[in-house]
């Protein structure tokens, strides 16, 4: 508004000067004073050019761009958040609090590391950290010692370097190095190749008219030229300013059209296999009676689907009755993907205004249902009182002999050990193993922190790996005769009561495939705390249910959940996909943190298995087949180990992706 008033004042001034010069042409002569005025004015002109640049450039920026569709969301790599925090912490007193928070976080890991890997008590670990004797690297040790501060009070130099050295020293104590995963230590987190896809700002069916601002300031050119011409005494200079006037009027002559458009979309395959390409064809027809000089549109490709050929974005000029058709191909991944809208931007011919519309279209759904192997984990002894197929520490009617105990009134006559009575005269009761029905609830960590990835470019979140693990484990448990339920640890509710049967198996796989709790976009509800999600789970969880927890363990919440479940008497089995990396010190520290968490829950009483996410399920199936048939693999290694389903009728199931963690089970 202020700039507008200034221009208004300049316009009034121009009119006044113009009137004066028209009446008295020789009013201004070109002398030294005028020349000095010209110099001053040219400086002012430079300032005006800067102002014009700012007004010309800023409004027509990314916010008015078409959405970046066809790219999977960007997920963070564990540790990169710490690296970013360290990078932004300055050396001055103002950032002292931020530095101390980082230091405390690293120190916590340091204490746990010394306890776990060097057998130090918490007190001894704290002492070693405080006196700097925990490592030979003096710079790493100085992160926690008092001599870290040099010079002025509150100023701390080389903080980032010392955090990195400390992280490396701690990772080294745990045997974690950059070479472990073949990563190069470049010290720099790999940047994502593109920013997050711009979410369309409009709801479906909404529209909005914006001024792009790309011509804003152009009338300032006219004023500047006019003033320069007057000062120079060169009337011809004013003619250049006509460009500003002409284009300023041009920009105001039209507004973006609001045309009637017909949209038609077809997909080549509605039920593709993972990795299969789905071709999407989109046709937009101009059903209005006017030319669309600048029509831009972008298909709203569902999150998770990556466009691998062609483009979902297009621009054209479209005459009445004409149509534009585009085609692109997506690679199918797990999930139910609904194409149901289109983002359209129409501009007037000058580009000064743009009309945004988010158009509803007929829904085209692509559902990709991966096939999962059935893998059964070792279960604990917690079981229902129902007879079933799984061996647990329960006795009763059965076939397999368990033990003999003293006869109690009410014991069935058939269970009395008559031989013992004949030999020794004692009444004793024989006990048999009684297979029971086990209830298992598979809990998938689908909170926002679980949407982390090892490879920022690959863009496959840990949640997807957890879902694969959950599906495989649920299948194996159902095969073994367990009653299996499903829960999502997420603000987006998902719960299935434990049950058995083919229908329930399909229901579980369908939920894991299509439920929005396991979608490709992280949940946005940050208000609901992990504790609230835990409370929901505890309310629904049957007392006699065992729990399989599928989580990447990239933060402390899953470990807290496991501890609370154990405290409530549940047997807990952790299956954890590893999405941590070793390329940078911060990532190595995140790897160490994860190991410490898994170790803590193992020591608390849970069984822990590493889940090796395989990029190619077909390869995993081949490996599994090799294991089943006793194939030529002589050393299945950490990613190949067979496990028998407890009470599963002796059936041996492949476990190509399920490997014991290095520390073993407690």
């Amino acid at each position: 508004m202020r700039g507008r008033r200034l221009i208004l004042a300049a316009g009034v001034l121009a009119v006044a000067v113009g009137l004066a010069l028209t009446l008295a042409p020789g009013l201004v002569s070109f002398d030294l004073a005028t020349a000095l005025s010209v110099v001053v004015w040219l400086v002012a002109l430079g300032g005006a050019a800067v102002a014009v640049y700012g007004r010309f450039d800023a409004p027509d920026a990314v916010e008015s761009a078409l959405p970046r569709a066809g790219e999977r969301p960007t997920y963070g790599v564990p540790g990169d958040d710490l690296a970013a925090t360290v990078a932004t912490a300055g050396a001055g007193e103002r950032d002292a609090t931020a530095r101390d928070q980082i230091r405390d976080r690293v120190r916590e890991t340091a204490v746990a590391t010394l306890e776990r890997f060097q057998g130090a008590s918490p007190r001894a670990a704290g002492t070693r950290i405080d006196d700097g004797t925990w490592t030979d690297d003096e710079r790493a040790a100085s992160l926690f010692t008092d001599d870290r501060r040099s010079g002025r009070e509150g100023v701390e130099t080389d903080f980032a370097d010392r955090v990195e050295r400390a992280a490396d020293a701690l990772a080294g104590l745990a045997g974690i190095s950059a070479d472990e995963a073949g990563g190069a230590d470049d010290g720099v987190p790999s940047p994502s190749t593109a920013g997050p896809p711009a979410t369309p700002r409009l709801g479906r069916g909404e529209s909005r008219l914006d001024r792009t601002g790309r011509w804003r300031g152009v009338s300032g050119l006219a004023l500047a030229a006019t003033a320069a011409g007057i000062l120079l005494g060169q009337s011809v200079a004013i003619l250049a300013g006509l460009a500003g006037v002409g284009f300023a009027a041009y920009a105001r002559a039209w507004t973006a059209p609001d045309p009637a458009l017909a949209v038609e979309r077809t997909v080549s395959e509605t039920d593709p296999a993972p990795g299969e390409r789905v071709r999407v064809t989109l046709t937009v027809t101009n059903e209005s009676d006017r030319l669309l000089p600048d029509l831009r549109f972008c298909d709203d490709v569902p999150a998770g689907l990556a466009v691998v050929e062609g483009t979902p974005r297009h621009t054209t000029a479209l005459r009445p009755g004409k149509r534009a058709r585009i085609a692109y191909e997506c690679e199918a991944v797990r999930g139910r993907h609904a194409f149901d809208s289109l983002t359209i931007a129409t501009r007037d011919v000058s580009g000064a205004s743009v009309r945004w519309r988010r158009v509803r279209t007929d829904e085209s759904v692509v559902t990709c249902r991966p096939q999962y192997d059935a893998l059964a984990p070792e279960l604990g002894d917690l079981a229902t009182r129902l007879t079933g197929r799984q061996d647990v520490a329960a006795t009763g009617e059965g076939v397999a002999f368990h033990s003999v105990r003293e006869y109690r009134r009410g014991d069935p006559v058939a269970s009395v050990d008559w031989n013992r009575l004949a030999k020794a005269g004692d009444l004793a009761t024989r006990r048999f193993d009684q297979p029971r029905t086990v209830r298992v609830v598979v809990v998938v960590d689908a909170r926002e922190p679980a949407y982390a990835t090892r490879d920022a470019e690959e863009r496959r979140p840990a949640v997807d790996a957890s879902v694969s693990a959950a599906a495989a484990l649920a299948g194996g448990l159902l095969d073994a005769g367990s009653h299996v339920g499903l829960a999502a640890l997420s603000p987006r509710d998902c719960w299935l009561d434990p049950a058995a049967g083919a229908t329930h198996r399909r229901r579980i796989r369908d939920r894991l495939t299509t439920d929005r709790a396991f979608g490709w976009l992280p949940p946005r509800d940050r208000d609901e705390t992990a504790d609230a999600q835990f409370a929901d789970l505890f309310t629904r969880l049957p007392n006699d249910a065992q729990v399989v927890c599928c989580s990447p363990f990239v933060d402390d919440a899953p470990a807290d959940l496991v501890r609370q479940l154990l405290a409530r008497g549940h047997d807990v089995h952790v299956t954890s996909p590893d999405v941590t990396g070793t390329e940078t010190p911060a990532r190595r520290l995140a790897t160490l943190d994860r190991r410490l968490r898994l170790d803590a829950v193992r020591r608390a009483g849970a069984t822990v298995r590493e889940w090796r996410p395989s990029a190619d399920p077909q390869a995993a199936r081949t490996a599994a087949a090799d294991l089943r048939t006793g194939g030529s693999r002589s050393d299945p290694g950490p990613a190949g180990r067979s496990a028998s389903a407890p009470g599963g009728g002796g059936s041996s199931r492949s476990d190509a992706d399920l490997a014991a963690d290095g520390g073993g089970d407690a």
């Binding site: 006509l242 460009a243 991944v333």
Partner: protein, 166 residues
């Protein structure tokens, strides 16, 4: 299944860029009546080139502004009417077309055929430039010598006020 990476953005040849550079070249050439104007025009054109090659919006705007300044400098150096008109309008056209091309690069991939919409925009902007410059030239020639500065200033001021008060 291999998880696909997003397609990489490639440098795109666009008609708008060629036309922007031609307009900028015309503006710089028209203004080359004095060494200072020549230098300003050259800097402006190089900024335009940098902007369209490296996809820097600020450089395009800066280049157009400097080319426009070159036209003003040229007018002080005795440039003719057509030289100033070509310089001024060429500078604005160069920035307009360059920014339009950059906007297309931002919104659509390089594989999309955009020549039609680019040409339509260029023709519309060029028509505005020709009509405005022609009108200005006629007006400039029709007023008596010595009083033309005041008349044109009056004209510009009036137009600006009308524009602002709409």
């Amino acid at each position: 299944m291999s998880f696909a990476r997003p397609p990489a953005a490639d440098a795109t040849f666009r008609v708008s860029y060629v036309l922007a550079l031609l307009a900028g070249l015309g503006a710089a050439a028209a203004a080359a009546v004095s060494p200072l104007a020549l230098v300003a025009g050259a800097i402006g054109w190089l900024a335009l080139l940098t902007g369209v090659v490296w996809q820097v919006r600020g450089a395009v705007v800066f280049g157009g502004g400097v080319c426009f300044t070159a036209a003003l400098v040229a007018s002080a150096g005795g440039a003719g009417v057509w030289a100033v008109l070509v310089g001024g309008f060429g500078a604005v056209l160069a920035a307009d077309l360059g920014l339009f091309g950059l906007g297309l690069d931002r919104d659509v991939d390089g594989s999309v055929a955009t020549t039609r919409v680019e040409l339509l925009h260029a023709v519309a902007s060029g028509s505005v430039a020709v009509a405005t410059a022609g009108g200005g030239y006629v007006l400039y020639r029709s007023v008596p010598a010595g009083g033309s500065t005041g008349v044109v200033a009056l004209l510009l001021g009036g137009v600006v006020l009308v524009t602002l008060l709409r």
